[in-house]
Symmetry: C2
Subunit: 235 residues, 2 copies
């Protein structure tokens, strides 16, 4: 064995799972099942198995917890401080994921005692998980300012006021609805439906669906959906 004098290290994957319920941005947390820190709040994670790529490990974890497949999943960062796990050195590769909460609800597994927490009320988490969450929030803001990524958090059909409130939640500020709707429609990414959502208003708001062809085509185009990006706090 050529590399025989080298040290092997435990590798974990942890998932920062964002969800949107139509009103608030939320984070999915679990009660940790293992010692140490058993029963504390934690991100969903697990060790990387010898026959799993990182990508696959993250997908597996996500699927175990939510029952969902094919959701948006992106690598955030590797965390490798020496003492981040007090039992034994473990390097964690953090992934972040965006899902539609309502889609999740139908398939939820209760075995992990998972709960959604509003993004502004994240409890104390084990290890360096709070740091991971902070970094994921920053990355989400950063990326969403440039790419049409937030559609991943919405159901198939959604209204423009819903979309706006999602943006407003993420940037913790309010946008002018005339400018917002003009900008979002000018991307050409949305297809208007005939149906209206009447839950949130008497008049009702038209549903839209994402034009998936244009979405993948234009994903890398820079957008400017956020007014005054200079004044907002990014990465």
């Amino acid at each position: 064995m050529i590399y025989s004098d080298q040290t092997r290290i435990l590798i974990a994957v942890d998932c920062i799972i964002f969800g949107f319920d139509g009103e608030n941005l939320k984070l999915l947390l679990i009660h940790r099942a293992l010692e140490p820190e058993k029963n504390k709040w934690s991100l969903m994670g697990g060790f990387v198995q010898p026959d799993e790529s990182l990508e696959l490990a993250a997908n597996t974890i996500l699927n175990k917890l939510t029952g969902l497949e094919g959701v948006y999943l992106e690598q955030l960062q590797a965390f490798g401080e020496l003492k981040r796990d007090p039992i034994e050195r473990t390097i964690s590769i953090a992934y972040f994921s965006l899902i539609d909460i309502h889609k999740y609800e139908t398939q939820i597994s209760h075995e992990h005692h998972a709960e959604w927490f509003p993004i502004k009320e994240i409890p104390h988490l084990i290890f360096d998980h709070n740091e991971m969450v902070e970094m994921a929030k920053k990355k989400l803001r950063y990326k969403a300012a440039l790419h049409p990524i937030l559609f991943e958090l919405l159901p198939e059909k959604f209204t423009i006021p819903q979309l706006q409130s999602l943006y407003e939640g993420i940037y913790d500020s309010e946008f002018d609805k005339r400018n917002f709707s003009r900008k979002i429609l000018s991307t050409g990414l949305l297809i208007k439906q005939n149906e209206k959502d009447k839950l949130n208003s008497k008049k009702g708001a038209f549903y839209y669906v994402l034009d998936k062809g244009k979405y993948s085509e234009n994903f890398h185009a820079f957008l400017n959906l956020i007014p005054n990006p200079d004044h907002l706090q990014f990465v």
Copy 2:
């Protein structure tokens, strides 16, 4: 040992080191010293030691190769495909780094047979290193379009035409020099010197230095240094 039934894995760090010589963007590569793939071109890398954080491991590698300290270093991605190293599974955390080639030249260690390659003439590299380089190039373009990051590649004193040619090299396109200099000066990041650089022209171009206070203050501000970003290929 609570985690005793888990598999430990080899972890490496690989560094994508960009440099600028005043004319071209380059990449620092070495002749690999170990089997397998001994003597092939490779990124500079090494295994993560039990007492090293990832950050420290990357800094150590960079310092071994270039003799430089305190250079710009940022985590790129973890690469974890199963067969990326044919001998034994190794997960690599890639870092990318920006240095001023001339600063490096005075401290270079020759023991690694390192060589600078123009970014457009990267040879075949071992394992998945070409993929890492591609990703690093994309990230550099992406980031440099938004943040004043390219100063890290320049010497203390530099001229605006030099800076422009750096941007042009990175985006493989040409910019209008009037617009470029207006934009770059309007950031307030540059301090004009009385001295001129006479190497590249008879008239000579004024040197500038970076206002380091404003640089750290404004690093996260979104810039728009690249004309027509829509037409350029980003991440």
